[in-house]
Symmetry: D2
Subunit: 346 residues, 4 copies
């Protein structure tokens, strides 16, 4: 039995972790951390857990947590995990950080985009970027996993094979992404009120969103060169789901079959990436509640570009699901344990 | 392994049955019936099932189905199941009918409210009304189960204990119900288009909805007398969920604790009915995707009425989930097998 | 030209007042009061007003406002208007209070339901309840108008004629109301976040909502006796709209035509109340953005009850629209000036 | 008084035309054409028009219509207007076609993208493309106006100034557009059901949407050369609104101020195009129900691209509002008559 502790258990990603771990046959949650609700029943915050979770929220005390848990999930704002982490914790428990603290290898880029000083740069090198489909072997032996951001997960998986196989010119990549509102978190802000989001769509963080360097770094590894791209997220009136529509120029003339073969080569054996049939566009609703990423592409011979599309549930594969997938790898469990959800439709 | 066949597998309730049975460790679907999509890949109709279901839709041939299945689910429009049923089918397979054909014991009431002639009245007496919490023992031995309607499930479970214990006057019962749009089915009708439902709420079937006599019959058994009541459904801009708000006059002065004790007496041992803590109102979102019914009540001393509330997912406990629960009972399986979903939030 | 000042111009009701007054040919807004945004451009808070409103937010200084305005709208939390009002203000400007401070004639009931001490009880008697269809003549001469609550407006107009004509028994009235989320205001609360409201419906304030005594008082005038009733509001995932479904026992047998004639007698001459054709249920979407209230009813001979229904836009007829209608009456303008909006569909 | 007739008055664009013309002080609707609802009360189809429109639907008889109207709006599927048009009609009434029949100057491109034969190619040359901000003078004298498509209106207005001023390279333009569901029309199709669209986002018509050549033609006039670009529309769960996010490479280094000056030069005098303040992103909700297009841009020095954004209401500026604006120009009325709506928020 894996003993799991969660720091930030009352945010949306934390709540989703609880949902997933409840169905994991080999894990027990031993710590529901939530600074805002210390001593309150967890099920009074998340009423869906009534009669399922019978535990109170505890403080975000990571040292004490490390003494009773095998794995610690930090589903907290940027900077918190780095400020709490130390050698003693890492020597006792594995850490899966759902924040951005250990995703970027270059601390200067982190500090520039996140506008905060990094409190534990000494662990950046050790941390493994937890995109399972790409870093599976490294994750298995990691003490510290940086769980990828929601947009980077969907973007990277949609684009990666074509960059890696040199089919597209990385300098031409443009990613136009759309996200449901749970990605904005559970904080009480006017901008996220029902009446402000409903019946509305907008871009935000244009040319400045902090997931940009994360995507660039990952695609840069695939390209073998520095990648600079445009990434524009949009807020969509729905709870869950991310859709990525990405554009890039093809380096040479290729057929549908050739590109399809590349995607299949990378994903045919993957449990959670589905390459859709020809001309079927990914839709977020078809993956809701599951750990799937649905991807597909379309070649436009008129412009010599390829349009790459990906859809996933931002709280599952984009956060808690991928974290559980990482945990399974780190503890030698079946990678899909606790993640075998059929998407909910409608 | 229970071999299951579904007639009407491409409607919303049929699709939900497939989702649930995929997670049932002891069932195999052997027949995806869908008259409209014969020979098409099931996963091309429900894209969420891509790489999960690899089967083609078959015709609604119930006789042939009976020869290869242990249980047949009919998730079809009213009248179809009754028109197809015969002794040979029933001698070979158990039948769980999700339509209204066998819910009402009085065929005249059926024909009056549904405006169709009943084609198999000889099976009405045998059919067991599949509200598990109330008819559990009878269901275990049934060949033919009438799976309750969505509104009647939520309404009956919310009100039943107080009628049975003679705390409320049945003649004063008023049920005001609100349903998500999946209850209207997947038929292409202008009234159910996104732009007609979204940002809108309306009552429909006022003083004439066909679930009225079903609720009256069930509460009548509890009351030991004929019950006549008002039932008003409303269409709400959301996919899933039914909320029932019911009103009745108390027969005597009672305290919160006394009424709570009654609810607990009926539901404390029930796996899928949760009596919420004092002053916590049921919300449909807290049960989404799960088989739970959340109930609660509030006494109004000013008017001497009690307000009874219930929330559930119309496609799960209100249709497919309850059908699986019935199947589990009929086949001697653990009642909650395949139904242990934690509600999805948000 | 009527010079209008608004206290609380950046709430949803205040924003709607600005929208409506922009289209009023005989009004000029001279004061955009908003304590939270003093000195900020109004159009930076409500971006829809960009290039339409060129003014900064001012403090909620009612005395200074009274010296430059002919009418003051207070779209503020309960208690504020009463705490600011004095004789000098009322001698200089007419006041239309959108809060509940002057709606209830019995100060004890106000203090009991609102849990605050009334700071200006001396003006309660003078204040006119601004339900135009019922108190039109009194409103014309009022200095201080208490603009009705959103639920009371829709509830009272739906039920009033049948109480007044003694067709229903007031002791049997049950009001089940459903509201869009703008009714909850623009305050940043977790409960009103997009992800908490979307795909969800719940009752709230059960047997205790503060609009209850307001409805009881108004229907009491019609009945000529004290009325006690049940009122249950629900939160619906949509921006605008209130739907009322009300139930009451008929005092005698009546035909559809007789009841229809009663409604017509009260509303045929009314510009903003539409009695719908037989069997057409009111829908909130059909009145969105307009000052209409659509009403209809259905007799249920099985239970001898009548179901009364009403739909309106909570921000227009339920708040800002009715306030403008009151202003028009108080200043001798055409009652519908600035309110001739055709409902927006879809 | 302008006598107006509408062919296709019961579609969403037709309904919006009726709403707008009801508020136009100088127009009278003399013909509500709707082949599907001949002889039915218009207000029984669009209940929002109850007590506002008292007329029955008539057949789509364009010749008879031409004898009693000054202007004919055709809000019909592609091909219908072209099949009905003739010299006699054009000699008697002006025609504003909301379909695509006369938007493309090259009949071969029309037939290739729309897969239908053009029935009246002789009028293509005469027809004026009714994008008021660009073709104002030509529209004033036109007999036949091709009302622009929704996506082309928003796309062209967002991009046009920078193409015209040679600031961006037309070959690099990529348009990622998002539309509310009313753009899909009122036809009863499974894909447009509430439960299919809600909580979902998808791309459609990827690399093949029929608005592509329309945008290319208009931007081609600005560029003075043939433009080929990528255009990807997405379906968003909301009723109204189009958001365009467009990308292009800058031809030279420019400052925010320089680009802003270009937009101002083109739009400062425009009543319905608003260039937003720096760093304020257009949102569809801020223009709902109005004829505004809100545009803005962001320079990304890292990639040397500019991101151009535009938001509008697809049924107003994207269809009926622009049609009325064209009518005003064609009949010498104030261009904004009947279009002075303040956007509805929330």
């Amino acid at each position: 039995m894996i003993r799991a502790g969660i720091i930030g258990a009352t945010g949306y990603a934390g709540g989703e972790l609880v949902r997933l771990l409840m169905g994991h046959k080999d894990t027990e949650i031993v710590w529901y951390g939530s600074r805002s609700y210390v001593n309150e029943q967890y099920a009074s915050i998340y009423q869906n857990m009534f009669q399922i979770v019978d535990a109170k929220c505890l403080d975000d005390n990571m040292e004490e947590l490390a003494s009773c848990a095998d794995v610690i999930f930090t589903a907290t704002p940027q900077g918190l995990c780095a400020s709490l982490l130390n050698e003693e914790i890492l020597s006792r428990a594995k850490v899966i950080d759902l924040s951005a603290d250990f995703r970027l290898k270059d601390v200067k880029i982190y500090e520039e985009w996140y506008k905060i000083q990094h409190k534990a740069p000494q662990y950046i090198r050790e941390a493994v970027y937890g995109l399972c489909e790409i870093n599976r072997e490294k994750i298995k032996n990691a003490r510290l996993v940086a769980n990828p951001g929601c947009y980077p997960t969907c973007s990277t998986l949609s684009i990666y094979p074509l960059v890696k196989e040199r089919l597209i010119d990385p300098a031409t990549i443009i990613i136009d992404a759309k996200s449901g509102t749970s990605g904005a978190g559970r904080g009480a802000k006017t901008d996220n009120l029902y009446c402000e989001v409903n019946e509305n769509i907008k871009a935000y963080g244009v040319a400045g969103h902090r997931h940009t360097p994360e995507i660039e770094e990952q695609l840069g590894y695939a390209a073998g060169e520095k990648v600079t791209l445009n990434f524009t997220p949009h807020l969509v009136p729905m709870n869950r789901g991310i859709l990525v529509t990405a554009y890039a120029s093809l380096k040479k003339e290729v057929s549908y079959e050739e590109v399809k073969a590349v995607y299949d080569q990378y994903y045919e054996q993957e449990r959670f990436v589905r390459v859709l049939p020809k001309d079927v566009c990914p839709q977020t609703k078809w993956v809701e509640g599951s750990n799937y990423v649905d991807v597909n592409f379309k070649i436009d011979p008129r412009t010599n570009r390829v349009i790459m599309m990906g859809a996933m549930d931002n709280l599952v594969k984009g956060a808690a699901g991928q974290a559980v997938q990482n945990m399974n790898l780190m503890f030698g469990r079946d990678e899909s344990e606790g993640l075998e959800f059929v998407p909910l439709f409608p």
